[in-house]
Symmetry: C2
Subunit: 360 residues, 2 copies
């Protein structure tokens, strides 16, 4: 563990690479000889435009985003996209299909009902969202303007291991697993992600949109929720969240040093695997998610007893493993091992799980 | 000038106090012994909730916000409020009145037309937005659900010197002069402000709303644009822009050291006055805004010649006075002297104006 730092398993906002934070601190009062902080720069200044353009082009390169897609740096979190997606896409047929595999896809589905006719293509609610439906279970409305899913369920610790084939425009909330592995962007219409788990501090939402999808918004679409405006203005209709974009740029530099998303893909399954192994081989602990649906980002687990869970959380926290308490919807424990969580943190927590299992 | 720092007259994002930036840098990798950055904290963690609550209560105290008003920390900038205000308030009568005194009130007025019947209570367009209409010029629709104005026009450099009496709910965009002077909040229904001029880094929008106004939103209001939801969830329906809120807290600490908004009010007119004096007493320069309408935040001025303006801007930049170029809508020059711009910066720029006037 780095001096004075804890092992941070927060589900989001999540850990950031220490080297990124150190660099941000060192540039705080004078960025690159400009005599000011990035926070103090006009978003129209040469210095900031360079940060903006560089960050966007690094992102495009790392995720191999095709040229007919725009990368937008917006605000409002994934929850704003819950409205923005139907407001901009549903006019085609007035209908859309949603897969409900957790809390956030459920909220997205409910929000979309304000704007059109929504059908549920699949739901994992009956088994406490412990699995991802397989391709053959998806019942997508043939008139759907788009099919919507959330690729990783932060709360339940499940993750889609395949890209659904649906015959319509694919929309995906990748908030909690973006940049953890390569993605074939060309299969999607829209990918969006809140930054605060795998990318940057909270307050930035990255949207990847196939440009031809924009321009069909409903008439009462708020101006800041119009993809067309954001594409036309290159995310600068108004002042964007400048410092978050700068931080994303630093994180992307760090990511490239780790071998990009290909490097991350190799690391992530080992890192999560260390924890799932400790859990599966214990007497006391049980993973929430079924094998084949397990998330490499959020490892959810529990004992048979709420009392023992509480003891585990208290002792883990005491030992410097912070934010391992599960979400109130699932209870139990959750260890989020996003890109910036070091392998060492997962290994030490696995040791701690084994030790606790022996002593209780 | 502090070592390695420039005099930054940016219209926004604007200057921040150096001591605030230094403190943020010093706490970047380990905030208050938590072993993590504020950027890495769960927004539901004890440490962050304390930052959030403290910041809100400092804000309430500094601006004397009455208890029947909520203070919201949102995203999306003032431009999102352009939609949020009519979406939430216009249902009362379906009508609203706007004063158009610059670019942003004009955009707000146009956006509101999506949601109801909008009348223009006054406009300063005929004279290039060089003045603020007086009370007797305001022609407010008696059926208006609310009256909307922008208290300081960043681009044109004009500022309302009075609070309009309109007989309806008052809504005010204070993005560029909030916290520069005391405000009688009880006269308003809603006050909002993007943070990036006088408060914090871009990406945070502060809304002060009389709580009884919420709950009357139009049926297609996006969930993140519903004031009621934001009030009920204390701005945490989803992850708020945590780091910006932390920075706002640091800026508010600094503001209290300067004597709060009462202290700022004394300083600001002297600071802007130094510049207006130099301009008014010059041969070459002319202020854009008429006396009685002049902004203490954004001092707009020009010479008779675009060529000479260009020369002034180039030489000023060379001398370390950064971001003095006017907005493309007005051209000429603009020196923004927000709270965090030190008196010394205004004095030195005034010296430079006098020197330039003598030599050209």
């Amino acid at each position: 563990m780095a001096k004075d730092r804890v092992y941070n398993f927060s589900a989001g906002p999540g850990a950031l690479p220490l080297s990124v934070l150190e660099r941000a601190a060192s540039e705080m009062t004078n960025y690159g000889g400009t005599g000011m902080s990035v926070m103090e720069m006009s978003h129209r200044s040469k210095a900031f435009i360079k940060i903006f353009d560089d960050t966007k082009s690094k992102f495009r390169s790392i995720l191999s985003v095709p040229e007919d897609y725009e990368i937008l740096f917006l605000q409002g979190g994934a929850s704003s996209q819950f409205s923005m997606v139907p407001l901009n896409l549903i006019s085609k047929t007035g209908k859309a299909s949603y897969a409900v595999t957790g809390n956030f896809s459920n909220l997205a589905m409910k929000e979309a009902k304000k704007f059109g006719e929504i059908s549920i293509a699949a739901t994992s609610e009956a088994t406490g969202h412990d699995r991802i439906p397989c391709q053959s279970e998806l019942n997508v409305d043939k008139d759907a303007s788009y099919f919507y899913y959330c690729s990783n369920n932060t709360i339940y610790g499940t993750e889609w291991q395949y890209v659904p084939e649906t015959g319509t425009t694919l929309v995906c909330d990748m908030s909690s697993n973006i940049l953890s592995k390569p993605v074939d962007v060309s299969k999607y219409g829209i990918i969006f992600a809140g930054a605060q788990k795998n990318m940057a501090p909270a307050g930035l939402t990255v949207v990847i949109i196939r440009k031809d999808l924009a321009g069909n918004e409903l008439p009462y679409t708020p101006l800041m929720m119009n993809y067309k405006t954001m594409i036309d203005k290159d995310s600068m209709y108004n002042t964007p969240p400048c410092y978050n974009i700068y931080m994303l740029g630093l994180v992307l530099d760090w990511l490239m040093e780790q071998g990009g998303v290909e490097g991350m893909e190799k690391i992530k399954s080992v890192k999560a695997g260390v924890l799932y192994d400790a859990i599966d081989n214990s007497r006391l602990f049980k993973a929430h998610a079924q094998p084949g649906s397990r998330s490499d980002m959020n490892v959810t687990f529990r004992t048979e007893s709420a009392e023992l869970d509480k003891k585990f959380i208290a002792e883990a926290t005491e030992a410097g493993f912070v934010n391992v308490k599960g979400h109130r919807l699932t209870e139990g424990m959750r260890a989020s091992v996003y890109n910036a969580v070091p392998m060492e943190a997962a290994e030490k927590l696995a040791d701690f799980i084994r030790e606790f299992d022996k002593n209780n």
